[in-house]
Symmetry: C2
Subunit: 433 residues, 2 copies
């Protein structure tokens, strides 16, 4: 006999969990129609502090439990929604739920990025589904396309703006010509950056999300630590000025490329052509460009964070899990670790480079610099001499190179820094076409 209702256990009543509870109670008819029976919220695992929230005080007290054993002992829970965040205790809770035969839905990028393969294997073993659409890109469908719509494709590349904080900061720097510190301060004032912003501005958050997307799209295990990562804090207002002059925007991109035997995964600032669609993604918005052999280029754009968009993804996953429960199946996602590809060492990647160097303002300097680059097989595409400082007797050189190996560029940068005419390697940024 078909089930008469689906029981939901919710872990966490913070920003996301609170919104999920709200949608579960406000959209009961839509949800029931999609599933074929009502979804009933049976228990919420909360922290004692959550109980004072206005939302909690409007709900029935018997729903709450501050004790995880009590939560997991609740009968009639088919699906556990984890909205706690962070690695611990969320990982333990997810494992416990899965081992107890519950389908799980999570918005936890850190846990999925670090332990997704392990959790997926555990879920397959227990014949339940592991759903994590909300872990990347808020409500933008990003996981589902890789699991369903794009599944016939060999994905060759992913190019993603997947951190709203950094994109907001870069947008303000580009628009207003302000420096990084001022833009960060504005982001903090508007609530788009945390008091301790390191996780975002140093690119760590983006590595979590890229690890999730890459593992899924390339069927291999990419851990956050496998991903080369540079943040945005060393970008200066001059870099934006020169970028604009040269026809580029500066974005923090998460990039993944699939080769025959290796995958290339990196998060760092890049120059991208200003007419490209990714260059037009502004403020806290996210966008993910995917290249597949059949589909060509597709791009997904939207709000990458926030309670409402994240709840949209959590609820969609919950409906899918509930449909699986109704059908008596474990879900249809067939992800399998099937690739033995290695991570390409950063030294081997090849891109164009933008280079800003402060040099002595005298004849023959460019010849010396060109020789160093040329000796390292780096060919210059354009040079502009900028901002001569008559007091310090220095000038600024802005150099764009043709495609070159990262290893060669790093070697050249070291050699350049030893030239007496070079006062400072002021910055260098990779370029993506």
């Amino acid at each position: 006999m078909a089930k008469q209702s689906i029981g939901i256990g919710l872990m966490g009543l913070g920003v996301v969990g609170g919104q999920v509870a709200k949608v579960l109670s406000e959209k009961t008819a839509i949800l029931a129609e999609q599933v074929g029976c009502p979804l009933i919220l049976r228990k919420i695992k909360v922290l004692p502090s959550d109980l004072a929230r206005p939302q909690a005080r409007r709900m029935e007290p018997r729903l709450f439990s501050t004790d995880e054993d009590e939560f997991f002992a609740e009968p009639g829970i088919d699906i556990v929604i984890e909205a706690i965040g962070g690695e611990s205790p969320a990982l333990e809770y997810l494992k416990r739920a899965i081992s107890g035969g519950k389908h799980v839905v999570t918005s936890n990028k850190e846990v999925i990025a670090k332990h997704g393969v392990e959790l997926l294997s555990l879920a397959q073993q227990h014949k339940v589904g592991l759903h994590y659409e909300a872990s990347v890109g808020g409500g933008i469908p990003l996981i589902a396309p890789f699991q369903h719509s794009l599944v016939a494709n060999r994905v060759s590349g992913i190019y993603a703006i997947i951190n709203g904080t950094t994109n907001y900061i870069l947008t303000r720097m580009a628009r207003e010509g302000i420096d990084f510190a001022s833009a960060l301060k504005k982001a903090q004032e508007f609530g788009y950056a945390e008091a301790n912003p390191e996780n975002d501005i140093e690119g760590i958050d983006a590595t979590y999300k890229l690890a999730i997307l890459t593992s899924l799209a390339f069927n291999c295990q990419v851990r956050p630590d496998d991903i080369y990562c540079e943040g945005i804090s060393r970008l200066g207002s001059r870099d934006f000025r020169y970028a604009q002059e040269l026809g580029f925007a500066i974005k923090l991109l998460a990039i993944a490329k699939q080769g025959d035997k290796s995958v290339e995964v990196r998060v760092h600032p890049v120059f991208i052509p200003e007419e490209s669609l990714l260059a037009k993604v502004e403020g806290v918005y996210n966008a993910v460009l995917v290249e597949g052999d059949l589909v060509g280029k597709v791009l997904f754009f939207g709000e990458g964070a926030g309670a409402l968009p994240t709840s949209s993804a959590v609820i969609a996953d919950t409906i899918e899990a509930a449909q699986d429960v109704m059908l008596g199946g474990e879900g249809r996602v067939r992800w399998k670790l099937s690739s033995d590809k290695t991570i390409k060492p950063m030294a081997e990647i090849e891109t164009r480079y933008y280079l800003r160097v402060t040099v002595a303002d005298r004849a023959g300097v460019l010849a010396q610099i060109s020789k160093v680059l040329g000796d390292d097989q780096i060919s210059i595409s354009s040079v502009i001499q900028k901002e001569a400082d008559s007091v310090a007797q220095t000038a600024e050189l802005v150099i764009m190179t043709h495609p070159a190996k990262e290893e060669a560029m790093q070697k050249a940068l070291k050699e350049l820094s030893h030239l007496s005419v070079v006062k400072e390697i002021s910055n260098f940024v990779r370029v993506e076409a």
Copy 2:
């Protein structure tokens, strides 16, 4: 016992059908892994002329049938892929397949737009799935998001560039300042417009796709004929020049808005702010912007047509159908005609307008025009006088209005055309913010 293979019947071996057959034969391992058993192409319904194609000549002759009765008599077909296109005989074939208990996959926008509700009902009656991802936007996931990822949302609006031919023409007009006829000719030269381009340039193709998206997103039946439709042929190079001067791009947009009791559905050229993401969608690319109560704005972008992208969607649908066959289910899509909303009459819509009028070049003209507009409750936001022609003693007025009712604007246009100082209403275009 689980099935050992899934049998596929393919109808049509044209551009799309040929590519689908190619993918089915080249990606057997990926497909089998997703489904849990191999997909086997058992029969292809072809036209006699198809048999001469190089592709057909490389395939086993026993696969082909030019007779539909023979095709439908083939045992062991679980899924029928319809890649014939057009209304007839595709509709009859789809009905016959469904009535015979086959799951169906189609890329046929005309059939789905005109008969989707009927086919869906037939499919539900026979407990099989009707899959049509490829009917809108090539390989861009558009149907799946509405059926799955966005299902918890109340969708308030859809704004779509869903015809590549017209977007290509408009892009060339905007970039090169050329007139419509020249841009159309170029589109035809590059194979982006058909010899008889009416279906595309008059917006009819876009109404099919909008009908499909709207019916799905709003749970109501919107037929192509319900959609107000204007093509792009009356746009002139001057309109692009003025649009750029005013900070707008011109796009053919398919627009759907959901109100409490009615839905607004229309396809026509619009001015959109040049900094909007849709304004940046160039050439033959498609993009669909969706607004939902939870997810906010999400945008899907990619190639809207072509054999490869379309095959990506057809194969994804085929995998989903095959998974349904394996699970013994009819699929999980729960679309139901649940809304009794009416189509909002065009007279009642409200937008801003761009108006280009050729007038006598003399004092007091603007006062007369302003009076007509004002009497019809249309308030002017800006006016620029342009292009005085000293020989003809005429001038061109470019007027942007504040939001006004369409009915009032149509009345005003009629009245303006009767003013002796008005030589010609040269154009008027709606504006979307």
